[in-house]
Symmetry: C2
């Protein structure tokens, strides 16, 4: 989380005051932690002009394992044992539903196909550190345990930086996949959900989309490790239909107790849906804070909510 890496910030407030908070140590429990108010609030309370970040040396070695699994319950169990085996070495755990993996390796130019396309779920897992042999040994041990417990159906390990990069390209080619469908429009969603509801959520979204338009479909992938799911609805474009799909997915997300924006914020486009992820009391408090810190509504007006 970016928030956890921010040691201090300098902020200019609505009345021109410069808040000098560019401190460079981690622990500072002296009154209200003001920087927390500005981080992630899209500039509506102040303008961040400088920031001090906590940084770490980049790991020299990254290795990747792609696995196939037969159910989302297994994806979830596999995440648990991957955490146990790899601990701090685990740097990515990306779940892909069948449609996403299959369509990407079949349709996007230049994709490798490290595993067959008929498995229900795929996980791309990355382990990082400074000791290549150890990471490799740890991944092999994890693989052995997971195969031994019938948790995964099939798997392949990267053998070089190039093969690791080729596997990552499968996960990173959502835009390219979208372009392979002529006359089809793509709506991207970025939601958070408790991991134990992801499977049911994906099924509910898929069914309700088909009920509106039998040719539309959703592809789903995400950083299952932190509860963040990306979902893309592909459909034949009319603006009205687009709005209908947006409303549908956001309301299902609300029904599942999820967040309508895990990473990207509210901005203007998602403003009508803020009330799905925040209660009326929470939104009232946000407005009260905005009025206190920016009474003339001059800072990024109209973002997140209208005053």
């Amino acid at each position: 989380m970016a928030r956890d890496l921010i040691l201090g910030i300098e902020v200019v407030t609505a009345d021109g005051t410069v808040l000098h908070g560019l401190r460079k140590y981690l622990k500072n429990n002296t009154g209200i932690d003001l920087k927390q108010l500005f981080i992630g609030s899209e500039g509506i309370l102040g303008v961040i002009t400088r920031a001090a970040l906590r940084i770490f040396p980049a790991p020299t070695e990254r290795q990747v394992m792609l696995c196939a699994l037969h159910s989302f319950a297994q994806v979830s169990s596999f995440l648990d044992i991957a955490r146990q085996h790899l601990d701090g070495e685990l740097t990515a755990f990306e779940a892909m539903w069948n449609d996403y993996y299959r369509l990407t390796v079949e349709r996007v130019n230049g994709m490798i196909r490290p595993l067959p396309t008929h498995y229900p779920f795929y996980v791309l897992l990355e382990a990082s550190g400074n000791d290549a042999e150890r990471i490799h040994a740890d991944l092999e041990e994890l693989l052995e345990t997971a195969l031994g417990e019938d948790m995964i159906l099939d798997a392949t390990l990267s053998t070089s930086k190039a093969s690791a990069a080729a596997m990552w390209r499968i996960r990173d080619s959502t835009l390219e996949l979208g372009r392979t469908f002529p006359y089809v429009s793509r709506i991207g969603f970025d939601v958070s959900l408790p991991i134990d509801r992801m499977d049911e959520y994906e099924k509910a979204v898929g069914l309700r989309i088909k009920a509106i338009d039998s040719r539309a479909f959703a592809i789903v992938f995400g950083h299952a490790g932190d509860g963040n799911l990306h979902l893309e609805v592909h459909h034949e474009h009319t603006p009205e239909r687009r709005e209908e799909f947006e409303k549908l997915v956001y309301h299902i997300t609300g029904d599942f107790g999820g967040s309508i924006s895990a990473e990207h914020g509210i901005g203007i486009l998602k403003r009508p849906y803020l009330k799905i992820s925040r209660t009326p009391d929470e939104i009232d408090m946000m407005r009260a804070l905005k009025r206190t810190l920016d009474p003339k509504n001059i800072l990024n007006p109209g973002r997140i909510f209208k005053l």
Copy 2:
């Protein structure tokens, strides 16, 4: 940091509103992150009634290494290589200045003495995980590297849970040490500083204390890994003297750009010193937030600042 482990909270505000924010996922970028305002603000903005925490399985194995070093610069270099070698396994890096280690092992009942008492600095380092052999091998490798580069002068590794606990007792016996000085009063401080200023800071505090009272002394130890230093001034007690030492240490902390409370908050006792770690503009903004969320000043009034 406790803040980073909090997924969601339920808060009762001054007007009796219950803010339902007990969400259980990590990423939620939908408007101002209100929970951040309540965490660590000592109840002056609302009463936290429930919290959802992120938890991790406890490691099954903890091993400890006690090292002696000849300068604070070496403590800092040793921290860097310990991070490189141990990465996620490094769970404590506690620096002790000579006075602290020497007085504790000499005066407190039941202490072991794993290393001689004449070294300028000591570090108690802990590595944790689930694989005892690996942790031991990693600590030995770190030890070899550090000795090879003349970074440490002497070291000893725990050989059992009991010996690890005995080493931790040296670090954890500050209260017991205080009680070995009859008629001496102890003032505890909890400050944050950039690590590259800690050595100079300790020297400045020591000199200025002696200038007030030649029999007073400071013992210093801390979680150097996160910039947090604990400092205790021992002196013969009169209330006036106590206040003089408090003012002295807090003002030196301010001169070094540090925080006067890394972990423990402001409360009432440190209220006069808040302005050392926060600018007048920051304190004004805290007051404005307090007035907005608690206009009648009924929530923990008088904590952090007077309205």
